[in-house]
Amino acid sequence: MDLGSILANLQLGLQACLLIKWIPDPFFGVLIPIPINLFWCLMGAVIGTAIGVLPGVGPVATMALLLPVTYFLTPEGALIMLAGIYYGSQYGGSTTAILVNLPGEASSVVTALDGYQMARQGRAGPALAIAALGSFFAGTVATVAIVLAAPPLTKLAQQFTPADYCSLMILGLVFAIVLARGSVINAIGAIFLGMLLGLVGTDVNTGNARFTFGIQDLFDGIGFVPVAMGVFGIAEIIANMTNVDRRDLVSSKVSGLWPTREDFRRSIAPVLRGTFLGGLLGILPGGGAILASFSSYSVEKKLSKTPEKFGTGMIEGVAGPESANNAAAQTSFIPMLTLGIPSNAVMAMMIGGMMVHGIVPGPQIMEQKPGLFWGMIVSMWIGNLMLVVLNLPLIGIWVRMLLVPYRLLAIAILFFCCIGVYSLNNSANEVLIIAIFGLFGYVLIRLGCEPAPLLMGFLLGPMMEVYMRRAMLISRGDPWVFVISPLSAMFLLIAALMLLFILLPTIRKSREKAFQEA
């Protein structure tokens, strides 16, 4: 990988980002030049920040909600906006955590510990500024990491045989189990359940119908969007409507935004460590922003000379996790972009967004749609830059959004879910499907099953079947092909070891401890 081709790729991405579209204004029809993809990047960042600030509305639900709307955009615009929502929510989540002691996002739970204490001591400004600047630094480094890692990984992925792919997906699902929060066995069950749901409909290879109960609407399978909206949108509304949240806003006015020299000095090392740790954890299947922020907090606590002071307003406890979650949010795009395999529920949504536009995810995207591929990557850095501007000077506007009570928000989300899914095919029956999956998702939550593994299984199940069949066809029916191919054997071995480890009691205990700490 030489410098010249890196620069050529970046230039390609920049061109895609700066694409100008001439749009007639609504009154006189005069053509106005609009940088259309930059506009969608900004929209993604704004929406992401907004839902990040609001507790009870996560990026997965929002992306599910907007998938039908993205159908009206170009593929580039759609994916740039969806990506913006994810990393935008990482910025917004810290604002609520620091000012209200409520995590706006699951990934900023640990930020609230020290961030809120800083706010109570009148140092909300520096906490917010360090969180935003740390996130920006992490986002920049992670974007560079994607630029450097994507081409070689794509080359490697192009040499994968169907058997390798099949095993890689198994490994991905095992990672999703290991890193799932809550019960391991329930996560395994949710994955199998999701895979079974994914099989509903006509079998693409043989043309036979499976699990359709003779219902016409199920012959094409259950759509990804209705399932995602049901288990993440509707089910979350139901679960959150009962939790009356109290929001003790420290103060809506944030003064003295700029951190002191001492703050910067203390933050540099945590930001660097958080970026590194988050970047690594983001690449792992099943990893992502949540795990990264938790790990970073416990690392900072362990390395600190005064660990007992954590929880009383240590800036390290804000700088580390906030950098880590943004780095991880960004690097989790790497497996999705190069292998076409989602590493978490958010990436499953990105793949859903590609499928809405008829793009088949996989290593061929980089060559077939270089504008889309590099445009998306470059847009991430531009989006991060926009987010620093959006978050620091405009903080007062975002805080005011917290005045919107959840009782109204829930109704708005419900309406957007209904009309969004209706608009996909102008089919009222699909709205019935989200009602069913909303109910089902709520039952899952009550039974202690995370909906995220279910969604991963739903997406990966049918893909796995395709690769399994191809592998068996090539090997003329010899199942040993999964072990003979060195890559496939390696993936399966790692998967088996991970499963073994997690089922051993001692390691399970330390895993539980790792989640509880922080």
Binding site: G189, L193, L196, F211, T242, F415, I419, Y442, L447
Partner: protein, 166 residues
């Protein structure tokens, strides 16, 4: 021996139940050959895996303490109202049009929480109508009727059912 977690018992029941159902339905699916696995291979593998997982969850329910599944913790009111609101949207949007359907569905959803303040809700509802119409009908140009055009299918069905009964 008593179980220690009713939540795990219920989760196990769900896994085993759905697994068994899937196994029963897929029993006559074609298994194909090793060279080209048929329609039934993955469904059957997954069904057995799901049943196995359910049994493991049951074993866990007897061995380890876990949360219990009291009926009190369930959010019955939002569960029913949000579901009814979604179904109401599905049943009426094609016939009654966007505006009446929105008012109907959102009001049912608002009944889902005791916190609803009706003056505030009415203003919010008007705002949502403007946003919904502006975004989906005006801006995106979606082919949805705005006002009532015909009688909802379910009313027609109920009516013919009643006539048939006479």
């Amino acid at each position: 021996m008593r179980f220690k977690s009713s939540q795990d018992i219920a989760a196990g029941m769900m896994f085993v139940g759905i697994g068994a159902l899937a196994l029963y339905i897929s029993a006559d699916y074609n298994m194909g050959s090793a060279r080209s696995p048929g329609t039934g291979v993955l469904p059957r593998i997954l069904s057995w895996c799901l049943i196995g997982t359910g049994v493991l969850v049951w074993i866990k329910a007897f061995l380890a303490d876990g949360p219990s599944l009291g009926l009190a913790g369930w959010a019955w009111r939002p569960v029913i109202m949000v579901t009814v609101a979604t179904v109401a949207f599905a049943l009426h949007v094609d016939s009654l049009g966007l505006v009446p359907t929105m008012v109907l569905a959102m009001t049912i959803a608002a009944l889902g929480t005791p916190e609803t303040r009706w003056v505030e809700y009415t203003l919010f509802c008007l705002l949502m109508l403007v946003v919904g119409w502006g975004m989906f009908i005006y801006a995106l140009g979606m082919p949805i009727p705005v006002w009532p055009g015909k009688i909802p299918d379910w009313i027609v069905a109920v009516r013919s059912l009643l006539k048939g009964g006479q």
